[in-house]
């Protein structure tokens, strides 16, 4: 409360009626009391602030306020008379005090000397320098193994590691982890989800709940951007070749259009799912003229390739 009330000033409190601007004493425990100025009163709570403090105290219940400061006795008024009184008493009883205190001071002096030397010699060098362990996201990617898609979440670990996953989900579908090292989690992307994301061009939504070392629990959600290679559709030696070397299954709808000379065109629809390689499709009929319309969805767009097979 400096400069209004300084150290060693005596403050006298009285009554419990106070308003904004008054200095009050409030006690949170029997031993801990604070003397601060009231800056706000709201309902059952009071906000106080020390004059020299930059910020107010947290709101306190009104019942904690013990009283309002009504009188402050400056230290200049009471300290000199008290010092004079003590000096007078010591002077009056100087002989008796000296006869008792001189031998009595020997053990006291011994103790104080020993402790002072010890405290001076064994001064501590350093205290705690503890850092809170952290786990940062390093990168997320999908390893395209051709047959299976393996998603990997990598972390940058500082004093903490991933022990095991308790919940691992891809688009709300629970998947088992394939491999967990201290700083990475790998899992196989389910085939239907791989197909959906490659077809619609979605990002892979992954949510992880994992138990960490040092009593930590991690809850994180990540999006993995995918970049599957575009499939290739071509004709070779009278056969239709569909190549999709990625691990993402793609559905190809094929309409075979065929006709003999002078006859109307006929259609046959087939479909095939291709992933991790190529598929060779023979025309379903033997005709003089055969075309193949191959339709497929890739990364959110529809593609149509019309190829002359014969």
């Amino acid at each position: 409360m400096e400069p209004s009330i300084r150290v060693l000033d005596i403050a006298i409190t009285f009554g419990k009626s106070y308003g904004i601007g008054d200095v009050v004493v409030w006690c949170s425990t029997a031993w801990y009391c604070v003397m601060h100025r009231v800056v706000n009163i709201t309902g059952e709570f009071v906000v106080t602030k020390g004059d020299a403090n930059p910020v107010p105290d947290p709101p306190i219940p009104r019942e904690l306020v013990r009283g309002k400061v009504v009188l402050v006795i400056p230290r200049e008024l009471w300290l000199p008379p008290l010092a004079l009184l003590i000096g007078f008493i010591i002077y009056s009883y100087r002989r008796a005090l000296m006869s008792v205190l001189t031998p009595a001071l020997i053990p006291l002096a011994m103790y104080v000397t020993v402790m002072a030397i010890a405290i001076a010699l064994v001064a501590p060098q350093t205290g705690f320098s503890l850092e809170v362990p952290e786990l940062h996201l390093s990168r997320t990617y999908v390893e395209d193994g051709g047959v299976v898609c393996i998603a990997v979440v990598e972390y940058l670990a500082k004093g903490i590691e991933v022990e095991q996953t308790t919940d691992l989900r891809v688009f709300d579908k629970t998947v088992p982890p394939l491999h967990i090292s201290g700083a990475s989690i790998a899992f196989v992307v389910p085939e239907d989800i791989a197909m959906r994301v490659a077809t619609k061009g979605l990002k892979l939504n992954v949510s992880v709940e994992a138990v960490l070392t040092r009593k930590g629990v991690l809850r994180g959600s990540y999006q993995i951007t995918l970049s599957p290679p575009k499939p290739v559709v071509r004709v070779f030696n009278g056969s239709l070749i569909i190549e999709n070397t990625s691990c993402y299954s793609l559905l190809f709808n094929i309409t075979w259009v065929y006709a003999e000379l002078g006859e109307p065109w006929k259609h046959i629809n087939t479909s095939v799912i291709v992933k991790g390689g190529a598929v060779q499709l023979e025309p379903p009929v033997n005709a003089s003229y055969i075309y193949a319309d191959v339709r497929y969805l890739w990364m959110g767009s529809e593609f149509l390739d019309r190829l002359r097979v014969r």
Binding site: S99, V100, T102, P103, A104, L105, I106, P107, L108, M110, Y111, V112, V114, M115, A118, I119, V122, A123, P124, Q125, T126, G127, F128, L130, E131, V132, P133, E134, L135, H136, L137, Y155, G159, I160, V208, L212, T213, R214, K215, G216, V217, L218, R219, G220, S221
Partner: protein, 184 residues
């Protein structure tokens, strides 16, 4: 005279009890940690694990060694106080009084060490939730429980007060007796 012997015996018992309480106080846990931070701190020793990693602090080791030294020197002086008060030589009573007064700075030293230790212990981070790009990392909350040392400190203070009161009485009676003898 009988009253004086009784008071001296009472003083010796109170001093012995105070020394025992002092050793009990420094060896009892002052604070007990549960949760993210596990362990305890007493003025004699400490064992603190911060998120399963045992940590050491020079400051806490310093408070331990100082508390031990302060207690041993204090205990030696209390033995001296008991020996002096039970001695037949009357002039030793002043020495006994002085040795008894050592309890006051001893208690002050312990309080100072406790303050230093509490400040150091307050530096232990107690993270419950850390947010990074990896997500939210949650750690168990740390509970800090006061150990039995607080209650023992009160007992130590009471023993100290009783002891000082007894030695003051002994001193007063003995000095008065000496004065009466000197008069005649």
């Amino acid at each position: 005279m009988k009253r004086l012997v009784l008071l001296k015996t009472a003083f010796a018992v109170a001093t012995a009890l105070e020394v025992f309480t002092a050793f009990l106080y420094i060896s009892s846990p002052l604070l007990v940690f549960r949760g993210g931070v596990e362990g305890f701190y007493s003025l004699y020793t400490y064992r603190i694990a911060f998120l399963e990693e045992v940590v050491k602090s020079d400051v806490l080791s310093y408070t331990n060694s100082m508390a031990l030294l302060a207690t041993f020197v204090y205990a030696s002086l209390q033995v001296l106080a008991i020996a002096a008060v039970l001695s037949k030589r009357l002039e030793y009573i002043e020495l006994s009084f002085g040795a008894s007064l050592v309890s006051i700075p001893y208690y002050g030293v312990l309080n100072g060490l406790v303050t230093v230790a509490l400040r150091e212990l307050a530096r232990i981070p107690t993270p419950a939730r850390v947010v990074t790009l990896a997500g939210v990392i949650e750690f168990p909350e740390t509970q800090v429980v006061r150990g039995p040392a607080q209650a023992i400190a009160t007992a130590l203070l009471i023993a100290l007060a009783v002891k000082l009161m007894l030695i003051a009485l002994v001193l007063y009676i003995q000095l008065r007796a000496v004065r009466v003898m000197a008069r005649g």
